[in-house]
Point group: C2
Chain length 287, copies 2
């Protein structure tokens, strides 16, 4: 960590879920000041424990002003965002001013959009940092997270899952797949990881056809070239719950590049369900 | 068509749906005799119009005997098959005799299974032919099938869809994807094309976010290396219906390598829904 990072506050543009406040807590614990710019209707209760400003999604002017007033030159963007209803968005003057840029953000795949978001803030003189850079303790470590280890038979499924996400990288598709005994039974696209796991549960006969045993692995990792500064893959307690309902044996995530929300609860639920959760070292070729 | 093909009967191992009888009609119309070996509980009514034998799925001995008695040396395997409940299967002596082979069929992905099925019959001295070889009129022609043409904006989505299936080839995943304005919104794996389209319908806001216009394409094509002799991709009237419900603009399939069940109804429904259905020439690199 450079001296500048230690002494300057960090701005946190925060959506919903538990991660923004976990990140804020982690950064503050490391001795660095923060200022949260939270989206109304998204940010979780508890934001009041930290210096913060609340804005609407369309209030780009207010957002930039709050970041500037905090003295931060570095920004982290974190948390969930419901896909906004464009028609219901209310823009402020800052948004109108930046309208050409904002409109150009909306074209292309998710990766393009997110790369453009980074570019937008960089054009304002800010450096966008990844959550895993400012709060490395939020990312998956290498090795098992709970007390269950991945069996030998899971390893081939894990390798296949990592390879499939790798192969789909150029097409900006999903970052997660379910693999059971060599069969790729579900590939995530626009439905998201939870939606894919619910489908895997309905396809459960694939995983348990020949025995009552759990089988199969959820693999989640960044797509090659994924913009980790604004779009880290995340797992959380709900992921564990859905993986268990789908009859899977475990979850494999890329160490350092997948965030684990509510880690202690993830571990408790995985142990209770006898599911493994394992961080896999990124391969040489991975993003 | 060789002289042997014209004079010798063709055995048709037939599952459910409309395709086995359509194929039988097409082959008979071409002047070649056939003998249908139909699976009880699967084969559609109408089989009695053709020379036929009915068997249970486990009656491998009876199946091989019926093929032999017909004098056929060539076999087509066609029609849908519900994933069998292994425990409920009743095997005959022919099955027991072939048990080691049959058990080895059950391992590996779908592609492995199907390649092994071909090998099994070839080991019995039979030649397994693809439906598109013996009844080319069942496969999609090149160009539009109905009266609606694919717009210029659909072409990029079609190309992307073909590329994604190509990229997934080595992993024996799906043969269909839905692409909307450059976004890959759904990838088929074990849920099948219908399941994927139902999901696409629930993700419809992706396809129609900014207007009420239809948008997006279902792309269906064989995986690279797919065993077309036992596993041709198929579309039918239900595919058109679900694509319309998903708000898609059309369907693109690989000409010559995707079967169209109930073609006249496919065309009627596509025209009524103003959906395009287009056959795309296989690229040089395609299987």
């Amino acid at each position: 960590m450079s001296a500048a990072e230690g002494s300057e506050p960090l701005a946190v543009l925060a959506g919903g879920g538990e991660l923004p406040l976990a990140l804020a807590g982690s950064v503050v614990a490391s001795g660095r000041a923060i200022h949260i710019v939270g989206l109304k209707g998204e940010i979780a209760p508890g934001v009041e424990r930290f210096p913060h400003t609340l804005i609407e999604l369309g209030e780009i002017g207010a957002m930039l002003a709050a970041i500037k007033a905090s003295g931060a030159r570095e920004l982290v963007i974190i948390g969930s965002l419901k896909r906004p209803d464009i028609k219901a968005l209310r823009f402020d003057f800052g948004a109108v001013w930046n309208l050409p840029t904002i409109l150009s953000l909306m074209t292309g795949g998710d990766d393009t959009l997110l790369t453009n978001v980074v570019r937008f803030f960089e054009g304002k003189g800010l450096t966008v940092r990844g959550a895993h850079e400012v709060a490395p303790d939020l990312a998956a470590p290498q090795g098992p997270l709970g007390s269950v280890a991945a069996g030998a038979d899971a390893r081939a499924d894990i390798a296949r899952g990592f390879a499939v996400v790798e192969a789909l990288g150029p097409y900006d598709v999903g970052q997660a797949v379910v693999v059971t005994r060599g069969h790729v039974i579900a590939v995530e696209a626009a439905e998201g990881t939870d939606g894919m796991l619910e489908r895997a549960a309905s396809l459960r006969q694939w995983g348990r056809a020949r025995s009552g045993k759990r089988g199969g692995v959820l693999v989640k990792r960044p797509k090659p070239g994924q913009e980790l500064r604004v779009d880290m893959p995340v797992i959380g307690p709900r992921t564990v719950e859905l993986a268990a309902e789908a009859g899977l044996a475990g979850i494999a995530i890329e160490a350092g590049h997948v965030l684990v929300a509510s880690r202690s609860e993830v571990i408790a639920r995985a142990d209770a369900a006898k599911l493994f959760v394992v961080g896999i070292a990124p391969s040489a070729g991975a993003a």
